[in-house]
Symmetry: C2
Subunit: 590 residues, 2 copies
């Protein structure tokens, strides 16, 4: 067994994150608790039994390029077909375009499972999801008629073509060109790098969403347009036509996610690839944000996913591997009995649960942002989702790597041997801190764009909700909580202090940015800790979850959230150490 | 340029760690500052120009097994020969056995350079060093006569054969058998795993130091003996004889250090490999500790080494890569200009410098332990070295991985591409937290065996010395220190609190062990922070180092050491969260 979907934990986390409330308020129509459970059970079965067994082999084989075609690991095309046939590709797409119309929260839960089972494989659908959203929101009727249904079903996959060698985090620098062909279509010329599943053998067509610049476009990000560029042109009747003028030039030799081909794509060797405008000319950035919207949450869920898979593997190993003795017992004991190993395993579980709570909370906020009854409620929920998205992405992927690293450590020497599988998690996890906006970019987004939303009201309201959680936990006064209430109180206080410091009008941008990454971490500690506390309270009220949840919340508060105060000190008093002349000296002299 | 030995930084760190004082007191005979400098310069040259260029190719090729022989990456045999001819293998071996007789501190500095340049390559000499020490201290005159000179020169290499499948951290479980042959030699039978450079093509013979059990040996670790088992038997005249009854069965497919063959060794297919007792029967554990003594420090230095190499690569990239703009400048700037990237690079430099300071301090304490004028001084120094060794090993290797991970992050998407080299550091670094005693074992050693030395006097004296440093820093009151004095004061206070908690008579072992890893980290924060503060003071007095050192010390104190108080809280109030029944529930339910 390499991975068993933790369906009970996931269902409970969804409930604590507010899915039940959303259902009770009627946001999701006839969706019942039973259906939610059935979806999770069936997704869990597919992930554990179908996807997970091939994860290691996919890492060993990798995807490879041969004569311009990418061959994915053995069995993947069939696996992908069955996965699509089960309807998983369109989980959250609206029913009118062929989707299941299920909540974002269930997309989040199932996405976590796919990525736990086989992160490299799960990237194809994740990128496709972005194409669906961009097309659904911004595409013309013709484009939607010709493409949308087949992308939703998974018959065709989608990609995001943003990055160029000189334009990574900074899209203003991109150079791929588009010119008007005169027939309403465009001709695209340029090179894109790091294109996930830019070429592969899973599907009959690949629909590239490509950012490019028109000849008369303004400079910078206001001169970027989004184009749909199919690998194979599609006739008016929906049948496949000629090959488009594009190719996969090479695939990267990466540290992890070997099964996922990371392609360099070349457009326009023969005069220009045919592309179709999505949205308006020069408004591509807005379309791109639609496309990336859930992708950031999706990548955060990969952090949760790898952490969960790594935790399970380490816990199983710790129960099986005997080594060392306890004073009370002359025989060797399973290493799970050793306090230091217990500490590592508790940390793995607590980090994972906290990150999951934050990601799912983001998802239920997105559901409310789409579906809540009033405009005001929707706006408030959207702001909350905006606020939480960079935390969901960066905090979760940071802990994904940290938990995977703990997983290696629990395995001792075996953790460093590739056959064991712990090392693959450590390698795979690392990319999630980088793509879809590096975690540094997420931190800048959090402090630069998300905190100032509605003049700080959104974040202040959120912190108030954390304070209310702390009050509940302290009032519950359950002995099993230990000092969790006190520790979380300190963490939320630290977050409040750092937040007001960030929001203060006199603050210079540079000072804020020095502390941005530490602030995001602090946010995750306080928000994650309180969410786990809420879970423990719910478990205590007999609403599910079981005895473990109190212990997880307590551990998080007493061992992990204790780092909050130190972060607040560094944030509010640390800028000069980085911006001063001394630091420049330390960063010049290599 | 992949790595340039930071000779000035290293020389300054040695000075702050007390090498100058040891020289001034006459401990190292005629060793002059000029000779120290010449050694560092020449080692730096060899590391940067000869070893480093092949590091990436060694990772790609790896060592491979063919017909029972291990072939190391191209060029390594020649490289190794030249390295030995330059005398580097015997740097700290006494002159009477053919070594250079240089201080442990210089062995530490040069070891760091070899591992920065090519960690996989550097493992062969590191393991050989252990064999030299075991043989020199515990070997019979005959064994020394036949083997020592050739091992010191590097003509033959050495290995440590400890681990067996069922006996990793727990050597009491080992099963390899030795029986008396009647002629004074022994016949060894059994299987050993994870044997670094157990077989290779660098040297004419390989001298295995093998732990095994005699037929009438007591159970557990009191029944273990150490044997010298040569790959090729050595005749009385020192010439090579017949092949011994041992072989390399397989080599591991590892996540990193691909150039270093990790061998499964089989002894006694044909009745038993010929071995020679080192030390006394059933006293093998003491010999093993001699052998591993400096190995733990050596592995700690690998953490420093990888951190340094990763830092240099990231810093270079950050100066070259342009991306993004500043409010003050419409053009793209090098990413080193962005506050978040600066923060990462400062963290890389500060962590690396702190770990180096702790490792070098351990080395100068070992020099005093061997050479100080009075028995009392030697004993005090040995206790300090004992205290610092687990911190040097575990703190440094933890930060080795963390800094390598930051290095990947600074590179963005390129960091995940193997050709860049940042990923190799991240993979290579990870093993150092595991071998030579996992970092969990180091933490247990620290709190279980090292704190109680001389009733706690050693650690209390050390903390007093940290307090004195803090007082000096606060008294200096240099503006460039910012709030470093205040932050270090808090860190040292936290260490003092946690130490007294650990030493308290009523404390249960289990409680101590829950907090052991956090305590080791806290120790590293306080000790590392104060050492950097001492460096800044020395630089301020014009004793070398330059302006960067003040900035590094300040950054460490204001951004990293601020975590100390939270760790102390977790240590002194966190045991129940791990030892309680709730935690068991959280660790049962996979």
């Amino acid at each position: 067994m390499t991975y068993r979907a933790p369906v009970a934990d996931i269902a409970f986390a969804l409930q604590v994150a507010g899915l039940d409330r959303n259902i009770a308020e009627g946001l999701h129509g006839e969706l019942s608790d039973d259906l939610v459970k059935a979806v999770l059970e069936e997704a869990g079965r597919f992930a554990s039994e179908e996807l997970a067994p091939g994860n290691h082999q996919g890492d060993v084989t990798g995807s490879r390029l041969s004569d311009g075609r990418v061959i994915t690991p053995e069995g993947w095309p069939d696996l992908y077909r069955r996965w699509c046939e089960a309807g998983w590709n369109g989980v959250m797409a609206p029913e009118e375009i062929g989707g299941q119309g299920l909540p974002v929260a269930l997309w989040a839960a199932t996405s976590e499972m796919w990525a736990s089972a086989n992160m490299a494989f799960s990237l194809a659908p994740m990128l496709t999801q972005g194409a669906i959203e961009a097309l659904h929101v911004h595409g013309s009727e013709t484009l939607k008629r010709l493409y949308l249904e087949k992308i939703v079903s998974g018959e065709w996959t989608g990609t995001m073509n943003l990055t160029e060698p000189q334009a990574g985090s900074d899209l203003a620098a991109l150079r791929t060109r588009a010119k008007r062909a005169g027939d309403g279509s465009y001709r695209i010329t340029g090179q894109k790098i790091f294109i996930t599943f830019g070429e592969h053998d899973l599907a009959g067509n690949i629909i590239h969403m490509v950012l490019a610049r028109l000849p008369d476009a303004p400079q910078g990000t206001r001169g970027i347009s989004l184009f749909l560029v199919p690998k194979i042109l599609v006739n008016e009747d929906g049948s496949l036509g000629a090959a488009n003028d594009l190719r996969c030039h090479s695939i990267e030799h990466k540290m992890g996610i070997h099964g996922s081909p990371t392609c360099t794509m070349v457009y326009g060797d023969h005069g220009g690839a045919t592309g179709f405008l999505v949205g308006e000319e020069n408004k591509g950035l807005a379309c791109m944000f639609t496309m990336m919207n859930n992708a950031r949450l999706g990548v955060g869920l990969q952090g949760v996913a790898i952490a969960e898979a790594a935790r399970q593997k380490a816990l199983r190993y710790a129960h099986e591997r005997t080594q060392g003795r306890l004073p009370s017992d002359p025989d060797m004991v399973p290493i799970v009995s050793h306090p230091d190993v217990k500490h590592m395993l508790m940390a793995m579980r607590a980090w994972t649960a906290a990150a999951r709570a934050i990601c799912y909370r983001t998802a239920t906020a997105l559901d409310r942002a789409h579906l809540a009854g009033s405009e005001a409620e929707r706006r408030t929920a959207q702001e909350l989702a905006n606020l939480l998205t960079p935390v969901a992405k960066a905090f979760s992927t940071d802990i994904g790597t940290e938990v995977a690293s703990l997983g290696v450590q629990v395995h001792g020497g075996m953790g460093f041997i590739e056959e064991t599988g712990a090392a693959q998690f450590y390698r795979d996890a690392r990319i999630a801190q980088i793509y879809e906006g590096t975690n540094g970019i997420q931190a800048i987004d959090l402090v630069g764009r998300k905190l100032p939303q509605s003049g700080g009201r959104c974040v202040r309201d959120f912190i108030d909700s954390l304070k209310a959680s702390v009050d509940e936990i302290r009032a519950a006064n359950a002995p099993g909580f230990g000092r969790a209430g006190e520790r979380l109180d300190a963490a939320v206080t630290a977050l409040g202090t750092a937040t007001e410091w960030m929001l203060a009008a006199e603050r210079m941008d540079e000072e804020r940015l020095v502390g941005a990454t530490a602030y995001l971490r602090l946010f995750g500690l306080a928000a994650g800790g309180c969410a786990l506390g809420q879970g423990a309270l719910a478990a205590g009220r007999g609403e599910g979850g079981g005895a473990a949840h109190l212990a997880i919340a307590r551990f998080f508060a007493e061992h992990l959230a204790v780092g909050a105060a130190g972060l607040a000190v560094a944030i509010t008093n640390g800028a000069a150490a980085v911006t001063g002349a001394g630091a420049d000296a330390a960063l010049t002299d290599i």
